[in-house]
Symmetry: D2
Subunit: 335 residues, 4 copies
Amino acid sequence: MIIILKSDARKQQIEALKEEMVSQGFAIHESAGINTQLLGLIGDTSKVDVDHVMANDIVETVQRIQEPYKKANRKFHPNDTAVDIGGVKIGGGEFQVIAGPCSIETKEQMTEVAQKVKEAGAGLLRGGAFKPRTSPYAFQGLHDEGLKLLLEAKKATGLPVVTEIMDASHLSLFEDVDLIQVGTRNMQNFELLKELGKIDKPVLLKRGMACTIDEWLMSAEYIMAGGNENVILCERGIRTYETAVRNTLDLSAIPMIKKKSHLPVIVDPSHATGIRFMVEPMALAAIAAGADGLMVEVHNNPAKALCDGPQSLTPEEFDHMMQKVTKTRDFFQNL
Amino acid sequence: MIIILKSDARKQQIEALKEEMVSQGFAIHESAGINTQLLGLIGDTSKVDVDHVMANDIVETVQRIQEPYKKANRKFHPNDTAVDIGGVKIGGGEFQVIAGPCSIETKEQMTEVAQKVKEAGAGLLRGGAFKPRTSPYAFQGLHDEGLKLLLEAKKATGLPVVTEIMDASHLSLFEDVDLIQVGTRNMQNFELLKELGKIDKPVLLKRGMACTIDEWLMSAEYIMAGGNENVILCERGIRTYETAVRNTLDLSAIPMIKKKSHLPVIVDPSHATGIRFMVEPMALAAIAAGADGLMVEVHNNPAKALCDGPQSLTPEEFDHMMQKVTKTRDFFQNL
Amino acid sequence: MIIILKSDARKQQIEALKEEMVSQGFAIHESAGINTQLLGLIGDTSKVDVDHVMANDIVETVQRIQEPYKKANRKFHPNDTAVDIGGVKIGGGEFQVIAGPCSIETKEQMTEVAQKVKEAGAGLLRGGAFKPRTSPYAFQGLHDEGLKLLLEAKKATGLPVVTEIMDASHLSLFEDVDLIQVGTRNMQNFELLKELGKIDKPVLLKRGMACTIDEWLMSAEYIMAGGNENVILCERGIRTYETAVRNTLDLSAIPMIKKKSHLPVIVDPSHATGIRFMVEPMALAAIAAGADGLMVEVHNNPAKALCDGPQSLTPEEFDHMMQKVTKTRDFFQNL
Amino acid sequence: MIIILKSDARKQQIEALKEEMVSQGFAIHESAGINTQLLGLIGDTSKVDVDHVMANDIVETVQRIQEPYKKANRKFHPNDTAVDIGGVKIGGGEFQVIAGPCSIETKEQMTEVAQKVKEAGAGLLRGGAFKPRTSPYAFQGLHDEGLKLLLEAKKATGLPVVTEIMDASHLSLFEDVDLIQVGTRNMQNFELLKELGKIDKPVLLKRGMACTIDEWLMSAEYIMAGGNENVILCERGIRTYETAVRNTLDLSAIPMIKKKSHLPVIVDPSHATGIRFMVEPMALAAIAAGADGLMVEVHNNPAKALCDGPQSLTPEEFDHMMQKVTKTRDFFQNL
C-alpha cells in the first residue's frame, strides 16, 4: 500500500502517521520526489482500511497494491477450486447446469419440472421456497412447505438441490439442501454471510445488482474467512441505464473473476435478461466466455407461473437448449 | 392496469386471459383499435404482479395506472406524515438534524460527541454499534457493548438515539433505541422489513444504493403493510459511473418522494459524498430541495475514526454548519 | 400510441387534445374505464413526439405501441441486411473480422500490421487517422497523412479499409475509404449522421457509451432516413459503475438488436474491456451471442503504441486468436 | 505520476522504460519496497497519457498525482473566473438566470417569452435554433430563420442571447450570438471544441450525459488550450438507472467543480428533471449548493411547445419562481 502525502504535510504530522502505521506492525519505506512524498507500507496490508488512512488530513490519496481479499485470491491459490455438491462438481473443469422453476408452487409442478430437467441433462435442481419480492403483496413462496416439495423432488430424481436463503434464522430448514443460494439483494447481508461461513455446506453467491467485482469477492471472503471455502459465484446481470432488458449481463466478469480468483463462476441468463428468447444466446455466450455452469429457469406452464414467468423456458425449450449447451461446452473444452 | 395484446393474439387465448383476470376479481374493459387490442382491468390492481401478466404469450406489454404501493401513497393519505421519535418529530413541517459518530468506539468518544452535537442543536443522536463493512477484516462495531454506550449518552444528553440494525435476530437489543435504521445494503432485506413491520418503533429506511424511488417506496410499504406506519426515508446517494464522489446524492428524489408519498424524507450528505468539504453545501441544498431533516457524521477525532473518517466533521465544524443549517431552514420556511 | 388521461381531465380539454391529434391525421379510438380514460391513436405514430403529447396537462402518461424507427425496424424488413464493403460482406450470414492498429503511426507500422492481420484472416483493415482523445494534449492522429498510409496499406494488401470520421467537413478525404466509422462519442452527432445519410458509402455506427439500444437504432435511422441504408452497428461496451474494466460489454444487445432490427451488428472487445487478456474470451462470447463480426486492435509493438496500447494484441496473439475465432464461427453456424 | 511495476519485472525491461521516460524529459525517482518497485516521474506530467504507460507489460498500475488539466485547474488559477457575456457577468460572485423557450418556433412566441422573462428578471435569453433530437422525424429547429428571430428578440429586449451550436460549419451564423452553447451530446465532439477554442466568444459547455467531472474539465481544457478561456460549465443531469426523472441532477458536481476549477458553473434543472413541478425546488437547491447561475425553459404555451413541453414553465410560473430565486440568492450571499 502506497500512501501519497499532500505537498503541504508537515514533518510532525508525517511522523505521527508513520508511528501509527508502525504500531500496526508495518515497516515503512519512505520516498520523496520533488513535489511528492510517499510512504510505502511493508507487510500484510490486505486488512488495512483505506478509508481510515484517507481520513488523515495530510493524505492525498492511497494506492492499494495488495488486494483486500486473501482466501478468494488466485495469487494465494493458483489452482481452480472445484466445489462438490452432493457428489456433483462445479469448477476445476467441471461444468453443470442448474435448472428448475423460479418458485416452487405445487407438488405436480415441482415433480414434473424436476423429471424433465433431469432428462434434459441438468445436473442440479433449483426451486425457490423463500422468494424476495419487491412488493409485500406478491407471492412470497411456500416456505417450509416448498422446501418439503423440493426435497421430495430431490428424492425422486436423485438430483442435488439448490434453493435461496433469505435469513440466517431459517438455516435449520436447509439441512438437506445441497447448495444454499444467497440472492442478489443479500450479497452484502453480512450477518447472513457470517452465519454461512460457520457451516460447511456449499454456497452459491449471486452478484449484487449494483456491486463491483471486488465487492463480490469481498462477500465471498466473508464466507471463506469464517471457514467455509465452498463458494460458487453467480453472475446474474447488473443494473444499468438500459431498459430494453431487465439487467445487463456482464459476461466480462467471467474472465476477470478467473484472473482474480480461483472460485468457480456460473451465469444466470434467465434473471439477467428477464426475456425468454434471450436465455439461449446468453447461455451459449457465457460458456464461450468461460463460465463453469449455468442456472436456468424452467416452468411447465410459464404463463401461469407465480413468479418470473416471462423468462422461464418450457421443458421442451430447455431440452432443445441443453442439446446446444452440451455441444457448445464440448467444443470449447477442445478448442 | 392496461394490458396491451399482441396483434396476432387469438380469440381463444384472449378469452382465457380474460377469464383468469375475472377470476381474480377484476372487471374487464375491452377496447380494440385497428392493430391493437387492449384489456383494461377495473378494480384494485395495486397488488397485481406485472411480471405474471407479461408471462402470457399474447401480452405485448402492460401499463400500470395505479401505483403498486398503497399505504405509502400520497393519493390515499394526502397530508404529510409526522413521525414521533421519543417526543421529537420529523415530517409534517418538523425538521431535525441527527448527528453523531459513524461507529461507537469508546465511552469518552460517545459522551463527548453526544454533548457537543446536542449543544450545536442536533435533535437526535446517532452512533453505529453493528457496522456493515465491505471487508470481513474491517472493524465490525462494538455490538451490544456499543449499544450500551449509546444508551448512556442518551441518558446523559436526553437526546433520542438512532442506530442501525443488521439482522432481525438482534431486535431484542434495540428496545431502548428510539429510531431503528435500516442501512442501504438492507433496504431489500425483506425478512428484516417484515419483522420491523410487527413493532411500533419508528424506522429510518435508507435508500438502497442502486434502488429506484419506486422500489424504495415498496420497501417502506413492506414495513407499513405489517402495521408499522412510522417510516422515515433517508436519501444517501446512489451508485453511478462518477468516481469523484463516493455516491451521487440524488436530491431530485426529495420533491419526487413528496409528490408520490406522505412519508418524511431526510438526507445523509456524509455517506453520499464521502468527503468532508462537501457535507455542508449538500446539507444546505437538501434543505432547499425540501428535506425534512439531515443525518450528519461527527467525530471528535476524524483522523483516528475506526470508520468513515474522511467524511466526518469535527464538533467545531458541525457547530459552524448547524448555524447555517438553522438559518437556512428558517429562510425556506418563510419563503 | 395510447394516451392515458388524468382522471380529472375536463371534457373540453379532452376535446381540444382530440382535435389536435385529428388535425395531425390520426383517427382516435376512445375508451373509458371507471377511473381511466384512454385515447388510442390510429395511423402511423412512428413520428409522433411522445414528449409533445406528455406536455399536455391532462395527459397522465403515453404508451408507445409502434417503435419510433421504421427503416431500421425488422417489422418492416424481416430479412437480415448484408452490407457490401468493397466486395466483402457483413451481415445476412456473412461474418468478418476487422483488425488493425488503434491509430496509424508510421508507414512501417501500418504496412507490417496490415500484412500480418491479412495473413491471420482479417477481412478488413482498420486504422485511426482522426483520433477522439479525452485530453487536448494527447496524440490526435496523423489526419490526412494517416489516411494516405492507410490507403497505401489497402493497396498493398487488397483489404477494404475502415477509419473514423470526426467531422462532416472531413468527408472529402474519405473518398477511398470503404467503411466510415462513427465513434461512440459521435453516435448522437446528428449533423454528422445527416451528412452520412447523403452518401452511399457503408457506415459503421458505434454505440454511444451511455446510449440505449433504442437511441442507437434511432441514430441508425438518421442515416437511413437520408437515403443511405448501408449501416452496420458496433457494440463497444457501455458505461456502468464497474471499474475493473474500461466499459461493460453488453452482449445481450446482440440478440436484442437482432429481434428489433435487420441491420448487421459486430462487437469491439478491445475498446469494451480495455485489457489485452480479455479480448479473446469476449470475442468468442460475441460470436456465441450471434455477432456478425468483430473489430480488434492489433499493434506490432503495443508498449510503444501512441494510443490504446493496453488492449492491443500483437500480430502473433491475433493470429492465435483468429484460429479460435474461425473454428468458433464454424461451430456456431452448424449448431 | 507514480508508475507501480509488476513484481516480476526484469531489470532490463525496467531500464528500457526508464530510458523512454527520460527521453520524454522526465527525471526519475526510483523507490523499492520488498515486493514493490516504483518509478516516480518528476516534471510536468499533466500531458502524459496514462494508457500509454499502462500498455507496458511490466507496469502494474499508474497513479496520477497531477491533474491532466492545467488551464481549467484551480491550482494554477486560485481565483474564480468571471465570464463577461455582452456586459453581463457569470462567475466570480456574479449570478445570472438564463431563460427562454427550448426551441424558437415563431416570432410571436419568441418576442412574448423574451419580454416576459426579462420582466421577471432573467439576465440572458435562450432559444434553440438547431435542435439535437433523438429522432430524425422530430422537429429539428428553424435554423438560420430561428437565429434571426432570436436576434430580433435580443434587439427588442437588450438581453444577451444564448443558443446551441451543433456543428462547427455553422459558426459563421453565430456572430451576433453572445454565448454559444455546446449541448450534452457534443461535450466530447472534439473537432467542435477545437474550433470554439479559436474564437473569443464565451462558450457554455453542458456536461455530457454520462461524462465524469474530470472528462468535463478536459473538454473545457480543449477550448481553453486553443486560447479561448471564456468557458462556463453547465450541469444538466446525468444518466443513471433511475427512471422516475429524465436524468439525475448531480448537484454534488458544483462544490466538486469549485474545488477543482476556477470556472463558473450553472445548473439546468429543466433538462435534468424533465418535469415541470421539479424545476423550482431543484433551482433553489442549485443555488444552495453554490451554482453561479441557472438555465430554465419558459414557454408561453407549454402544451403546444414543439420540444420539451413537459418541463417548460409558463411565464407566470417563471415569474413566481424568480421571486424565490432572487431571495434565495440574496440569502446565501449573506449567509
